[in-house]
Symmetry: C2
Subunit: 376 residues, 2 copies
């Protein structure tokens, strides 16, 4: 199969671009002296994770226990589940550990820590727990200077659990677009996580792992002293949000949606395509950034951006392509019915999740089906 034979819409992965993205991140972290633990929530796809591990990744990060189960079945054992643990999910986590999975879980409250310790004691299990640290007020975690950090650490260790480290994610890095801001937030992420680890150690607790990361900070950090590992996910595909943040060009974006023109409204300058929000996702992540790409940037079927055209609106299985700035009344001539186009997505994690599989496009243009999974 090649691009002209594929059913549309389809999620295409440009394997050359993906491989270069994997190499770029791995080399960068090698040179900064930290190990790399990619977040597989972006793709949930075995051949892609295999390529990340082959390039040098040490373990993976997951956002659901289903991801842990699937990738453990695929031979990856060193896994951190980077969403706060709750009691009802502990049996699933325990089952993974009992099968030999080196699963780490996280906590950021005394209630969670005590629940994990109580469950562990009841089942004769020692969980490795990392404490989530809040370095930018973005979401979850305990601030590095908050004494709750020590209280939670003691509750875990006193409860018989293994305190394995601290984990931070500077999610606010997505809100910037200047290199100096990204360098600053990367240093804030590093310093906050290292400070939390130092405070735990000063309180007599162990804290071997200091884990930080996001794609923008991982690509902007100038030093990683005190950090043992970095996590990042979307870098493997990149997308228009990351382009606007300034950490990739459009020529680095490895994910696109192949679509076909199905009709026109010529007086409005619209070409109607068969990629709606079901194929692109409803993610409008570029809406409040410096460059709003609508639901995506239109490219030729071979991937060359047609920079004046975006997917300006989307229904479930219909998308509207229009020209920015001026109505293209010749759009039916430019893109006749049957024309194949690629759309670069705002957000690779959200767009990928709409598809049961990727079509991996090799340098010679041939397509291979790479399944991905979803659900919990």
């Amino acid at each position: 199969m090649n691009i002209d034979e594929l059913n549309t819409p389809a999620a295409l992965v440009d394997v050359g671009r993906m491989s270069r993205n994997i190499e770029r991140m791995q080399r960068r972290l090698d040179s900064l002296g930290a190990s790399f633990r990619p977040h597989v929530k972006t793709t949930k796809c075995e051949p892609i994770v295999r390529a990340q591990v082959a390039a040098g990744a040490r373990g993976i990060t997951v956002s659901t226990l289903k991801e842990a189960e699937q990738f453990f079945a695929n031979g990856v054992s060193d896994i951190v589940y980077a969403v706060g643990m709750i009691p009802t999910k502990l049996p699933q986590a325990l089952a993974l550990r009992r099968q030999g999975c080196d699963l780490k879980i996280i906590a950021d409250s005394i209630q969670s820590a005590e629940a994990i310790a109580a469950f562990g004691r009841d089942h004769g299990a020692v969980f490795e727990v990392w404490i989530e640290v809040d370095v930018d007020g973005h979401r979850s975690g305990i601030a590095p200077e908050d004494d709750l950090l020590i209280t939670v650490g003691r509750a875990l260790v006193g409860g018989g659990m293994n305190l394995g480290g601290v984990l931070a994610h500077a999610g606010s890095s997505y809100e910037y677009s200047k290199h100096e801001d990204l360098v600053r937030i990367a240093e804030q992420e590093r310093a906050g996580a290292v400070r939390a680890a130092e405070r735990l150690r000063a309180a007599g607790l162990t804290c071997p792992v200091v884990s930080i990361g996001s794609t923008p900070t991982a690509l902007s950090a100038e030093r990683l002293e005190g950090v043992t590992e970095v996590r990042a996910g979307v870098y493997v595909m990149f997308d228009l949000v990351m382009h606007n943040v300034g950490v990739c060009g459009t020529a680095d974006i490895a994910l696109s949606v192949l679509t076909t023109v199905i009709g026109h409204q010529e007086d409005k300058g619209w070409a109607i395509v068969d990629a709606g929000w079901m194929a692109m996702s409803r993610d409008r992540g570029t809406q409040r950034q410096q460059h709003d790409f609508g639901y995506g940037l239109v490219c030729s079927k071979n991937g060359a951006p047609l920079s004046d055209y975006v997917l300006s609106s989307a229904n479930q299985e219909h998308g509207v392509i229009s020209r920015i700035g001026s109505v293209d009344r010749d759009i039916a001539k430019h893109f006749p019915i049957g024309t194949r186009l690629r759309i670069l997505p705002n957000h690779a994690c959200a767009t990928g999740a709409q598809h049961p599989e990727y079509q991996a496009i090799a340098e010679d243009g041939t397509a291979e089906t790479w399944p991905r999974f979803y659900g919990w």
Copy 2:
């Protein structure tokens, strides 16, 4: 299984509400003298479509040929594929017809009509084709007064195809919130489709079917003279967008996402839950409506709205619940870790699509798994 035993996040269907929604629409269209062809893109779920057919639906509408294949395999034969046909999808459509599926396809251009006729002749097949009519400038279709309508009709019939009818969808009805506006747009949809059919008949062409519909117009039309069938999809679940349009109350919304509180940021008044955009979708359909519900309206685990609380932001597997208007510094007391909540969605079609299955909750609180599918 019941609500306390289910894994979270989970897509819950309140079977009692769903059944009442199905009955309401079917009774309404029965009384208006039109047959009903529900759009199954909302749920892609066999038990739900079975309930719609059992209540009196005559055939179904689909947005992908995969839906046609799956529901034909489940015993539904009368199917209209309501997205403009393109040449590359004709082999798939032909395969369905040759298996005995009474599949109807649509066209709104001379290029499409000629391509369908040429493919049909080459393969000894007569496709039933409906012409898509544009009644509100919303998306695809030919305006009722445009002579292209007659040209396309003649191209189909002259090419040996069966011109089966006209199809219109007043998608702009989603933009209104007053009953009188909905009545007006419903009449505009009816009158435009009937006028297109009359013009085709006056030109000597057959046009047995006049198909219109959307959930808001189907629930607002005061008369359907000249219309043979109505299509609607989201009515089976309803959602917050439909609540804002004014065609349902929150107590009619049959779809919700069950979630668990995993942490807090008390000074910000945040409860963090395990339903992020992966569980809710990125749909922010209420953003520009009269009442913005964020990513959804928070309810107790039994479905009672806690009207001051919404899912105010969402990452992939994390959602933030906060109180509208004032920071709830006691949110950790109101919603301790482990608390189960339901979130009513902005858009039932988008939220359902994120889940491999529904958990159908019966009146006695027991849950049954109803699989749904995705992809193309």
